[in-house]
Amino acid sequence: MRVNTAHRHYRAGAAAVAALGLLAACGTSPQSSQSAAMPLAKQAIDTAIRDGAEQRAPGDLATAQQKLALAQKSADNGLFDDARRFAEQAEVDARLASARSRTVQASNALSQLQGNTAPQRQ
């Protein structure tokens, strides 16, 4: 997702109004599903932290945390579709952080083992 530079010439206010109109048009999901998405995202982030993502997958974890914060802000502002999307993305980002962290951990363990392998035969 990248903001196209072609849109720079829009005056901010006009853009906001136009976009909010489109947001309403794009909106499909009920408000209830975003309320389920946020706790799931929180849970996934907690799991990622337990999996050591702070040390081993900090980028993915930070993305998940930032999106969860954006989900909260969006919900506070009544943008419930945005809130749901940010929360759902935060959850999958956190799951990727967990998976990457476990892979890095396994890779580290393997390197350590291979580094420490003592010759057994004299």
């Binding site: 849109h7 136009a18 976009a19 969006s74 990727l96 057994q120």
Partner: protein, 242 residues
Amino acid sequence: MPVAKFAFPALSISLAALLLAACATSENAQLQQAHAAYEAASKDPAITAAAPGDLQQAAAYLKSADEGKASGVGQAEVTHRAYLAYQHVQIAYQMAALERLTAEFRSTPRALAGAGNVFFETGQATITPGAKPTIDRLAEFLKQNPEQRVRIEGHADSTGNPQNNVALSERRADAVKQALVSRGVEASRIETHAGGETSPVATNDTAQGRQMNRRATVVVSNFAVGAGSTSSPPGKPATDPK
């Protein structure tokens, strides 16, 4: 993706502009990218074996993105579903890498931090009470790593004649094997070898050196497991496209 750190009006404009841009894009690049990533991953047997669930979820999100695109659910939602699909593919790659690393870890020969040697009295092949903790640790390790096989190499010091020492070293290896089997390790996972007196680890000129040589060494490795080699170059998650 820009992360808004400002108050409501700026945030809403930022988000709105983002979604506007997404809605205005004629071709959904992210959806195409997700399709391509999924296609590549689903052709990789290592990934389909390691992460069928995540691939399935990716496929489901792709389908819902395609359907959403067709039914005019809005570009923002289509892009969102494509993103979820793409991330599930990335998770699948990580799972495959984890699986490969775990297999390699298990197949890497290792020294058991001093737990690999069992020592014997002169001319004897009886497990001494002092060796029992070592054997307990080995048995525990093997029970926790059910795919792991071991090779037990019996050795002797140079006391007596070499022929007898080969037989003695064989009895020592067998004694350790039996001790492991009696602790619940399958005999089929244990290979023994009689080293005789030809592989001393210390001098045979002193009592202390000879004690070091009257031993059975447990080598943990994946030798003789299956036909193919399980090892591949370490530290290369070759399946990760990032």
